[in-house]
C-alpha cells in the first residue's frame, strides 16, 4: 500500500517536471527530444498506482458501514476542493502580477490540481465499487470485473491523442462504457439497510459529492471565459468515463434514498420483528421462567401492531389465572372483556394448522369502549389452549393481514419456547429419577446377604436380579443356634426408592429380632408392630419366616401374605405348594394382627427341597401377557429335583428367560433353593 503511494508520487513528480520542461523547451526553442508520449504515459501510471492504493485502502473498511464510506469520499473531496479553491484564490490574489503569467507555475499548479482531482475520482470510484458489490452475485462480480478491466485499459487510451468531440471511435467507446456504468449503477441494495437517520445523512453527503463532481468537471473541461456548454477538448477516456459513472451513481443513489424514505420505517419494523422473533426463540435459561417469554411476546406483539394496550392471561394449574398486562388496569380488563363478549362485530380467523376451533383467532370491533378494535390470540402449549393474548387499539379496524400474520408467528414461537422449557424440566426430572433408581439399586444390592448361613445338613443357593425400577425383594438368613437357622424371604410393595428404603427397614427389623430367637409367631407379631410405625400409608411387606432345625429335622414357618412355598417331597416324588392362611405385614396396624398368623410345622427328609421365591417369578409375563405361573414352577421342580440347588435355580431361571423372551423385567426375580442332605 505504502509503496504504491510512493511510486505514484514519484511518477507524478517526474511527469510534472517533464511538462515543465516541455514549456521550457517551447519558450526557449530548444528541442529536448522528449517524446510527447512520455508525460502522458507517466500520468497514466500515476492513475494505476492510485487505483492500486485505494483498492487496498478501502478493502480494509467494513463493508456494512455505508455512511462511513460516504464520509470518507466526502472528506477526500473536501480536501481536494479546498486545495483547488486555495490555488484559485492564490491566483486571484496575484492577478495582474508577473507571477500570474508565469507558465511554469501555471503548469505545475495545474498538474497538482489534476492529480488531486484524479485522486478524488479514483477514491470515489473505489467506494462506489464497494457499495455496488455489497450484495454480490456471480454475475454481478463478473460484470464488474469486465467494467474494471475496460476502465484500466481506457487509462492508456489518451496515448492515442483522440478527443471525444472530434473522433467517432472515442464517442463509441465512451458510449459503450457509459452504458455499462449506468447498468452497474442499478445496484443500490445498500440503501435498504440504512435507517431513517442514516438515509438523511447519506442524502446530504451525496448531494455535496455531486456538487464536487460538477465543480471538478467544470474545472477540467470548461474554460472560465467561455460558455458552460462549450467544453475543452476531452482527451482522457478514463477520466470522462469515471466522471460519468460517479455522477450517475450519485444521482441514482440520491433518488433511491429519497423515494425510500417513506417506507424506511416499514423495513426497520421488519428488522425489529425479526430480532424479537429471535428473542422469543432463544431457549429460556436456567433460573428464568415462562413469564419472561410471555413478557417478550406481549411487548413484541404490541410493538408490531402498534397496540395501545394489551394483556396475556395464562391458566395455571389449580384453576389459577396469571395476567400480564401493559397500559391497562385490571378493572379495565374486565370491562373490555365484557365488551368483547357482547360485541356483534367479530370475525373468526381459523388456525390453518389445526381444525380445533379452540385455537381460532378472533378479531373484534368494539363500539362502546375507548378501544375500538381488539385481536385475541389463543396460546397453545403442547396442543392445549393454555391462555389468551388480547391486543387492543383505539383505532378501529387497526389489525391488517400482515399484523395478524406476524402475531401468529410470535405466538407460535412463544408456544414452542415454553414447550421446550417444560420439556427440559421434565427431562431433568427424569434424569434425577434415574439417578435415584440407581441409588436404590445399589442400596438393595448391599442389603442382600453375600453368605447364606447353613450347616452340613442342607445346602442353600440364592439368586436375585433386580428390575430397572427396583422392586424391593428381600431374603436373609441367621444362625440361631448350632442346629437352628432362621431364613426369611420377602417382598416390599411398590417400586423404586421407597421400596428400597422399606426393604432396609425390614432388614434392620429382622437382624434385631432374630437375635432374640423368637418363634415364628412372635417374630411376625413384633415385626408387624415395628413396621406399622415406619411403613407408608399404602405400603405393606409380604414375608415367609422359616426356622429350620437340622437336629430334629423339622421346619417351623409362617406365611405373612407371601407367595406359597413350593415343597418337593422326595419320597412321593411330588412338588406341592403349602396352602395356609396368612396376612401381609403392615396391613393391620394394631394388636389384632396376631389373629391372622398361622404357624405350620413340618418334617423333612433327605433330598427334600424347599423353593422360596417372590411374585416376580410367578407373575413374570411374556409378550402375550401369559404368566409363568405356579403350575410351570411346580413341574419344573419335579423334573429337576435330582439336581443340587444351584443347578435347580439355573434351570428355573433359564426357563424363565426363555418364557419371557427377552422382555425387560417388571419386577425383581428372587429365588432361594434349599435341599436337605
Amino acid at each position: 500500500m505504502r509503496s504504491s503511494v510512493t511510486m505514484a508520487v514519484i511518477i507524478w513528480l517526474i511527469a510534472t517536471s517533464i511538462r515543465v520542461l516541455e514549456v521550457l523547451s517551447v519558450n526557449s526553442g530548444v528541442d529536448l527530444e522528449i517524446s510527447r508520449y512520455l508525460p502522458i504515459l507517466l500520468e497514466d501510471l500515476f492513475y494505476v498506482f492510485i487505483l492500486v492504493y485505494y483498492r487496498f485502502k478501502i478493502q480494509s473498511i467494513e463493508s456494512g458501514n455505508f455512511v462511513d464510506l460516504l464520509w470518507k469520499v466526502f472528506a477526500t473531496g473536501l480536501v481536494t476542493t479546498v486545495i483547488s479553491l486555495s490555488i484559485r484564490l492564490f491566483y486571484d490574489s496575484i492577478a495582474d502580477t508577473m507571477l500570474a503569467e508565469n507558465e511554469y507555475l501555471e503548469t505545475f499548479l495545474k498538474s497538482v490540481n489534476v492529480a488531486l482531482i484524479s485522486v478524488f475520482l479514483i477514491s470515489t470510484l473505489t467506494v462506489w465499487k464497494k457499495l455496488i458489490l455489497y450484495q454480490k452475485s456471480k454475475k454481478l462480480v463478473a460484470y464488474w470485473n469486465v467494467f474494471e478491466i475496460a476502465l484500466v485499459a481506457s487509462i492508456f487510451f489518451n496515448l492515442t491523442g483522440l478527443t471525444l468531440q472530434e473522433h467517432l471511435i472515442f464517442e463509441i467507446l465512451f458510449a459503450v462504457m457509459a452504458i455499462m456504468a449506468i447498468i452497474l449503477s442499478a445496484n443500490l441494495k445498500w440503501v435498504a439497510y440504512l435507517n431513517f437517520k442514516q438515509k438523511w445523512k447519506s442524502v446530504l453527503i451525496i448531494v455535496l459529492i455531486t456538487i464536487y463532481i460538477f465543480y471538478f468537471f467544470t474545472y477540467l473541461y470548461v474554460s472560465p471565459e467561455e460558455a458552460i456548454t462549450n467544453f475543452n477538448a476531452i482527451d482522457d477516456l478514463f477520466i470522462i468515463v469515471v466522471f460519468t459513472f460517479l455522477l450517475f451513481y450519485s444521482i441514482f443513489s440520491l433518488l433511491v434514498i429519497l423515494f425510500n424514505l417513506p417506507t424506511s420505517s416499514v423495513f426497520e419494523k421488519k428488522m425489529e420483528e425479526a430480532i424479537n422473533f429471535q428473542r422469543l426463540s432463544q431457549s429460556i435459561q436456567q433460573g428464568e421462567n415462562e413469564d419472561q417469554i410471555f413478557d417478550v411476546l406481549l411487548n413484541s406483539s404490541m410493538n408490531a401492531v402498534y397496540a395501545d394496550a394489551g394483556w396475556i392471561e395464562v391458566n395455571l394449574d389449580k384453576d389459577e389465572t396469571k395476567i400480564l398486562s401493559k397500559h391497562i388496569s385490571r378493572e379495565n380488563i374486565n370491562q373490555v372483556k365484557e365488551h368483547i363478549m357482547t360485541s356483534k362485530n367479530r370475525s373468526v380467523i381459523t388456525n390453518p394448522m389445526t381444525s380445533d376451533s379452540d385455537s381460532d383467532r378472533v378479531l373484534v370491533g368494539l363500539k362502546k369502549s375507548n378501544y375500538k378494535s381488539a385481536f385475541i390470540v389463543p396460546l397453545t402449549i403442547q396442543n392445549q389452549v393454555k391462555g389468551f393474548m388480547y391486543l387492543l387499539n383505539e383505532v378501529s379496524d387497526n389489525f391488517n393481514k400482515e399484523m395478524i400474520s406476524i402475531i401468529n408467528t410470535f405466538a407460535g414461537q412463544a408456544s414452542v419456547s415454553v414447550e421446550n422449557f417444560r420439556l427440559m424440566g421434565e427431562a431433568l426430572l427424569n434424569e434425577r429419577y434415574k439417578e435415584e433408581l440407581n441409588i436404590a439399586k445399589s442400596v438393595q444390592r448391599a442389603l442382600l446377604p453375600k453368605v447364606l448361613d447353613h450347616n452340613s445338613s442342607f445346602s442353600i443357593h440364592a439368586f436375585t436380579e433386580a428390575a430397572a425400577e427396583v422392586g424391593g425383594d428381600y431374603y436373609d438368613t441367621f444362625q440361631l443356634s448350632e442346629h437352628r437357622f432362621a431364613i426369611v424371604v420377602g417382598d416390599v410393595s411398590g417400586k423404586g426408592t421407597s421400596a428400597a428404603f422399606h426393604m432396609s427397614q425390614m432388614k434392620g427389623i429382622f437382624q434385631s429380632l432374630v437375635q432374640l430367637d423368637l418363634s415364628a409367631e412372635e417374630f411376625l407379631t413384633y415385626a408387624n408392630t415395628a413396621l406399622s410405625k415406619c411403613l407408608e400409608r399404602t405400603s405393606f411387606i409380604t414375608l415367609t419366616y422359616f426356622i429350620i432345625d437340622t437336629e430334629s429335622k423339622t421346619l417351623e414357618f409362617s406365611r405373612a401374605g407371601h407367595c406359597p412355598t413350593l415343597f418337593y417331597n422326595k419320597k412321593k416324588q411330588l412338588a406341592e405348594y403349602y396352602v395356609d392362611k396368612g396376612l401381609g405385614l403392615g396391613i393391620i396396624r394394631n394388636s389384632t394382627y396376631k389373629n391372622f398368623i398361622e404357624v405350620n410345622k413340618m418334617t423333612f427328609a433327605k433330598d427334600d427341597i424347599l423353593v422360596l421365591y417372590t411374585d416376580g417369578i410367578s407373575e413374570a409375563s411374556n409378550a402375550v401377557h401369559d404368566e409363568f405361573g405356579y403350575d410351570r414352577m411346580k413341574s419344573l421342580l419335579q423334573q429337576n429335583a435330582h439336581y443340587d440347588p444351584k443347578m435347580i435355580q439355573k434351570v428355573f431361571i433359564s426357563k424363565l428367560y426363555e418364557f419371557c423372551g427377552g422382555k425387560d423385567l417388571d419386577d425383581d426375580y428372587t429365588m432361594l433353593v434349599i435341599k436337605f442332605n
Binding site: 417382598d491 410393595s493 411398590g494 417400586k495 400409608r537 399404602t538 405400603s539 405393606f540 409380604t542 405373612a560 401374605g561 407371601h562 407367595c563 406359597p564 392362611k581 396368612g582 396376612l583 401381609g584 396391613i587 393391620i588 396396624r589 391372622f596 404368566e627
Partner: protein
Amino acid sequence: MIEIKKETENNYLNILVNGEADASSSIHLDKAIKEAMEEGHQRILIDCTNLNYISSAGLGVFMSYIEEISEKSIDFILFGLSEKVLKVFGILGLDQLLTIKENKEAAIASFREV
C-alpha cells in the same frame, strides 16, 4: 391404564374399575374411593369384572381404607373378580379383611340391614 366410572343407583354407589391398577394408575383408584368416602356413601360396590391386573400399589390402595370402612361401618364390597385377581387378594390375605362376592346380586344381597 385404568378407567374408573361411578354409578349411583338406588341406595348404593357402584364404582367400576376397568383395566389395570398398577403404580401409575392406582392414584385414580385412590381418588375415586376417597371421594366416595367423603361424599358419605354408606354402601360402596367395586365392580372388578373388567379389572385385568392389580399390582401391590393397587392392593395398597384398598388396604389403606380398611380401617375407615370399619370405623364408619360402610358396606364396602368387591365383586366380579377374575380368578387371577382373586388369587392375588387371597395370597396377601386381604380377602380376610375385605368383603368379596362373586357377582353384583350376591353383593347387593349381602348389604347389612339399615
